[in-house]
Symmetry: C2
Subunit: 273 residues, 2 copies
């Protein structure tokens, strides 16, 4: 299995503290030694850092832990390989362009039959995104983007319709296995929990926090301004002295600038059949 880390923030915020906790689990305090990656959005562009080696030993991860890169949306992942060999092309997050935006996806879990679904789809509709690596995760991501493009053609003005479609797709895919994901187009951060995801929103009055996996504490009051709203999502809580909320199984949740703007708890209609 793998672990996910996501952030949605009202004002550009760095993730050095949370990433320091997560990356310790990539070979030191956790078994997720098979690669790590992180995407930081900056306007419509993004920065991606990744490695197929343990994050705990990675020189590049060392930079990401200490160098403050501020962003509204961040998605990170540490990998313990189950499907697909250990190599850079199988390292999350995955990224593709759709409708003139970069979409980023990271997945925790395993899916049965998703590669066949993507193959069938391509046979029916031809052109579309294809996986570069061999993970079921990247196949699911390409399948989702291809279906989105077929459904909407271009970015829909009604964002609720877009994310409702994504949520229903996730409801359907979660029947094929475990499908905990983080997905973003640089504006919104969408998370789907089929089994195991936690989140916390930090806003004024800010307190302090201590990491579970590294001897690091932080006083957010010193690092933030009153307007800050920062939500962090993780496969397992990263701190010992804060209350993290557990997402309900089979629930999608949409964040924008640190706030929850929608939840998708029931399945309105099938999109993956």
């Amino acid at each position: 299995m793998c672990e996910l880390l996501g952030m949605s923030a009202k004002l550009p915020t760095d993730i050095c503290f949370s990433f320091s906790g997560l990356i310790s689990r990539s070979g030191q305090t956790g078994p997720h030694r098979d690669g790590w990656g992180i995407t930081f959005y900056d306007g419509k562009g993004c920065r991606i850092f990744k490695d197929s080696s343990p994050g705990y030993e990675s020189v590049v991860a060392g930079l990401v832990k200490t160098y403050s890169i501020k962003s509204h949306v961040v998605i990170s992942h540490i990998r313990r390989a189950n499907r697909g060999k250990v190599c850079l092309e199988n390292t999350h997050p995955f990224i593709r362009e759709l409708w003139g935006r970069y979409w980023t996806f990271a997945h925790n879990g395993q899916l049965k039959g998703i590669k066949k679904d993507l193959k069938k789809w391509k046979e029916s509709f031809g052109f579309g995104h294809q996986p570069v690596g061999t993970t079921d995760s990247e196949a699911a991501f390409c399948y989702l983007l291809n279906r989105l493009n077929k459904e909407f053609g271009k970015e829909p003005r009604n964002k609720n319709k877009l994310w409702e479609y994504v949520a229903n797709f996730c409801h359907d895919l979660s029947k094929k296995g475990v499908f905990n994901i983080l997905l973003s187009n640089g504006v919104h951060l969408f998370s789907y929990c089929s089994k195991n995801l936690y989140w916390i929103t930090r806003k004024a009055p800010f307190g302090s926090a201590t990491l579970k996996d590294a001897d690091i504490s932080i006083d957010f009051a010193e690092k933030t301004v009153a307007e800050d709203v920062v939500t962090v999502i993780a496969s397992n809580p990263l701190t010992t002295d804060e209350k993290w909320d557990k997402l309900q199984p089979n629930t999608g949740i949409l964040f924008h600038h640190g706030d929850i703007i929608n939840r998708y708890e029931s399945r309105e209609r099938s999109v993956a059949s």
Copy 2:
């Protein structure tokens, strides 16, 4: 204008020396302060580092200068903005997936009318890659990939046909302005020179070299093995004591594992009309 740097190597090789020279031109010895980027291929995957700030001052570029990342194919770019504002999404190299491979593109020059060409193409054929930023360079890249996909549908077995098509596309686009480019799918490195590109192949017996833009010398004999073959391509020679070859204007050249495997000097047929 901008500057390009590319590498094709028989054995995985780092580019710390050449990149140290290039990046000095991004704000110190040269005016290319408006962003920098580099892509390293590793199997079918790749690592991308980029910034919209001057490379000379960039903490991330500082890491890339000193941290040995070995690769068969590298593409790098430093930007002096002419079309498109200074921001991360306008920073080269650009990357897209086609036929299950990541394609990387960097451009030096300006093109007239390429955004209209891409718009027309999309109106006629619908789905395809779209620019995220506002540069004519990214539009040209998306246009090329869309045309390749329409022409071949999937990766052609006959690689000569593929690269001949690319070369003819470049011949046609070079009529719209200056079109010096580096393009790779992770296997081959293709370079098109409409005006200004230099290259050098280093192989045994290896000598030493000194950078033009930084007080750094290297003895390649100490860093290499006899089998190494490394070709470096740059907008302007990076060293003072080696002989660089100038590419002929309106010529495409295809490298694999450090060797030239084809040249495209004449225009067989129009593909961009």
